[in-house]
Symmetry: C2
Subunit: 199 residues, 2 copies
């Protein structure tokens, strides 16, 4: 038997390890044994920090949700025309997704088998609905093209933003600057890829 390493974890650093394992194996496929091995400390040491894997999931999801919901309280999301607020929220959602990449990735992959997962999906839907509300307002103010279905546009907008988790890596080869990514999402979604001359 190998000696477990000394437990120098803080709640945050333990959470970071757990989220990595959840994203790799899926939450359902992760046991306390997997977490113990990845962290290099015993299961009882983990229980010293948290009640179990569902609490780690809840902490991780809360971190992602806190980041996302904070966007909706920013001045850029609350003041001005709806279309400009919508652009702000789009840019900041992409930024938060990249800044909190493993946490938002986990949030997006949650499937709903436990109370915590169902709560996560419920809160995520709430966020989407608030953004959908902004689209509706922008349409009412005449700033959104009237030949697209708003429910569909909301889905495609999130589809584009959320797809960033599939390939964005903050370090390493082929790294893209996060600001450029967020800006390109906004340009593409709101102004489109065509030059106006070619339209």
């Amino acid at each position: 038997m190998t000696m477990a390493k000394r437990d120098t974890y803080t709640p945050e650093s333990l959470l970071a390890v757990a989220v990595e394992v959840f994203n790799e194996r899926g939450y359902d496929g992760t046991s306390m044994e997997h977490l113990s091995r990845a962290a290099g400390i015993s299961k009882s040491s983990i229980y010293h920090h948290v009640r179990g894997k569902e609490e780690l999931l809840r902490l991780a999801i809360r971190r992602a949700l806190d980041g996302l919901f904070a966007i909706l309280r920013e001045p850029g999301a609350c003041e001005g025309r709806a279309i400009d607020r919508l652009e702000h929220v789009t840019r900041r959602t992409a930024e938060v997704l990249m800044a909190e990449l493993p946490y938002v990735t986990l949030l997006l992959r949650v499937r709903g088998n436990t109370d915590t997962e169902r709560w996560a999906m419920e809160r995520r839907r709430e966020f989407d609905q608030q953004v959908a509300e902004l689209l509706k307002q922008a349409a009412a103010e005449g700033d959104l093209r009237d030949d697209v279905d708003l429910r569909l546009a909301t889905r495609l907008l999130f589809g584009m933003i959320n797809s960033i988790v599939e390939w964005y890596r903050p370090h390493g080869s082929g790294h893209m600057d996060g600001d450029d990514v967020a800006e390109t999402v906004v340009r593409m979604a709101f102004a489109g890829l065509r030059t106006s001359a070619s339209a």
Copy 2:
């Protein structure tokens, strides 16, 4: 022991059952036993049709890839300005994704643990590269805005299209018309959501 039902499968109908199971359990998580149970016929009956689960995967992936690559040979993808060809390919890719939903879903989820999966990923990359090439040509012809990175725009475009598999269902409540979905993808990606007056 319950009698297995009489084997009236054609290769196509057996494939449809297998793809459903692959998408539900993941390819790695699917055994011949799972396939036998879902199809309601014995394992040896399945072996009468195919050599094993990897052959079913290969047939399913080939169906998705045939549909996608056929788009690139359509007149709309070969004639005219690159920007118009790109719009055609975007619309048709969304359409083929919806028409061949379970097959394309499987293609998008493949992870690369077997030869067949690696081949699938390789061919998918080839398709993406041919679309990236169209973006490059459209940029060279001055029809694509010059303030977006082409590699990034390609990824976001596919991110938006591929996200359709997450929510599109051909039947049932909340059904959206496939043509509307494809048209909205094109409008959003190429012209943007803003009305020109508000830009």
